[in-house]
């Protein structure tokens, strides 16, 4: 049973992250995902210190607020003349450092472990069950991540067209009257919420990986946004299932193996994708050269 819950949590995290991740990859903001997932740490810690427990709504809100604050600060520095990559680097390292110091200062008193924060302990998910009227209804992590996934699915399905235009052509989106800034912050809010919901059960590194690696893989496989989202969810789920069994075989970190598997799938797509693969493109080039020489 615990295997099922762990795999389910992994798959939910992968789905929640890869849906919003598709838009990040398309908008060339992949590193923003990295930044948010690191930057929410102080929010989580502060909310934890105030609320005193690990599963409060307060924690989710605090972390999401800090995530949006990070996005806002990055935007602000960027507008005042700092290149965007440097402003990302400054903001998230500062917030993450503050979070790590807070954790280290209070780590003796609370059960919020630094390693756990960084690469997560998805293996502990089944031990933290949610009970209603004395009946186990599944681990808390599953419910948290599931709700975050539901939220992204609902919002993105409702405003699919707007998100799509904003990602491919923000100038046109502004011209036809779509509030671009609103959708920017809405997307960032979704990234924050998915990050925070996933963060505590699986750690920052799995979140960042799932935000970027499956969408980038799907990006190499298709030209349609709808298909890209579906593919990336499938790839994310596949890597979390395979990664779990690889981890139990190797007796190693589950989150780490899930990312490694996702990386392997990306490498395969990079080399052998039918439309964009390196190897197949080389073969096609050779064929064309041969045909050209025959024609001559």
């Amino acid at each position: 049973m615990s295997t099922f819950w762990i795999v389910l949590t992994g798959a939910l995290v992968a789905s929640a992250c890869s849906i919003v991740g598709c838009f990040l990859v398309l908008r060339k903001m992949a590193m923003i995902g990295d930044a948010i997932s690191h930057a929410v740490l102080p929010g989580i810690v502060i909310a934890f210190l105030i609320g005193g427990s690990r599963d409060s709504l307060l924690m989710l809100l605090g972390a999401a607020a800090i995530g949006l604050l990070a996005v806002f600060l990055i935007q602000w520095f960027h507008q005042s003349g700092v290149p965007s990559d440097a402003s990302i680097g400054v903001v998230f390292t500062a917030l993450f450092a503050a979070g790590v110091v807070l954790v280290s200062m209070y780590t003796r008193d609370i059960d919020l472990d630094l390693d756990c924060v960084l690469y997560g302990e998805i293996a502990y998910v089944p031990w933290n069950m949610l009970q209603i009227a004395g009946v186990d209804i599944g681990p808390k992590a599953v419910w948290g991540v599931g709700l975050a996934l539901l939220l992204s699915v609902v919002l993105i399905a409702a405003f699919y067209k707007q998100f799509k235009i904003c990602s491919f052509d923000p100038a046109m989106a502004a011209a036809v009257g779509i509030p671009v800034a609103l959708f920017h912050y809405l997307l960032m809010g979704l990234v924050s919420v998915s990050t925070v919901a996933s963060f505590e059960s699986v750690g920052a590194i799995l979140v960042v990986g799932m935000l970027v690696v499956p969408p980038a893989t799907a990006y190499l496989l298709t030209e349609k946004l709808g298909r890209m989202i579906v593919y990336s969810v499938l790839i994310g789920c596949a890597s979390s299932v395979i990664g779990y069994f690889a981890a139990s075989m190797l007796d190693a970190s589950i989150a780490g193996s899930m990312i490694s598997i996702a990386g392997g799938i990306f490498l395969i797509a990079l080399l052998f994708s039918p439309s964009h693969g390196v190897v197949l493109r080389k073969i096609k080039q050779k064929q064309m050269v041969r045909q050209a020489s025959i024609a001559e």
Binding site: A30, A86, G89, A97, I205, Y219, L220, H276
Partner: protein, 311 residues
Amino acid sequence: MSTALYIWLDPNVQWILFGSMLLGLSSGVIGSFAYLRKQSLMGDALSHAALPGVCIAFMLSGSKSIGLFLLGAAVAGVIATFGIGFITRNSRVKQDAALAIVLTVFFGIGIVLLTRIQHSGNGNQSGLDKFLFGQAASMMLSDVMIMAAISLVLVTVCSLLFKEFKLLSFDPGFARGIGYPVAFMDQLIMFLIVVAVVVGIQAVGVVLMSALLITPAVSARYWTEKLGMMVVLAGLFGALSGLIGTFISASGNNLPTGPLTVLVATAVFALSVAAAPRRGVISKLLLRASVRTQVRREQAEVSGERRNRAV
């Protein structure tokens, strides 16, 4: 206060402080070039990518020798730069996504290896996880000397090749035109970043090493328009952050060094954003206020003249 005094007098701690200072200095200097070439986040990717290198070096050798770790991390870093270059050149995945992919996948592999080492029951492995956040206080004197020596080499290389790097940062096309080996110098700068990251891992940790490359450079940019001045300032800010961060961490409260150093660097950055001449927030507000009063005065004069004329 007495403990603080005691720390200053301990020769071991003096060395550690000296080493962290040099580390901050060299990473600030190299970070300036990375900043101008819009490669700030490269340091982030490379420092995460160093983790599997460190783990493999440990697995192969079974000992915690700093030299082997540096070698492993440097090899992993070079592979990572080639990986990022390969992905961006050969597919339609953009550089930001390529960075993020290489960063997370390498780090994920590193975590897998690290947990394997931890579960293998090798008694020698304890302290390997210190590489994640750095613990300057646990460094040996020989480690610090290696760190200081490599930092000095980095600063020397940067100052000797200052003119070439300057041209490369601002106008690579022109540099190629007058016959500089641009591709080689690109790789050289990347390699210097790798070395700076690798050297800093033990003191600052893989997670936050990138901040030492980015934050001092960005802070320095606020104060000056000249590259030479910016490099000097970045080095100075980096050295200051390394010194103060390590000092607080070594004062016995057992906080990890990396985050403290980064927080000091961030404080310097915040100060720069607020108080820098011309680009700082305060001076911009003052400028805006003075322009506003001037415009108001001129408007008043103009309307006054008009009224006089009408009368």
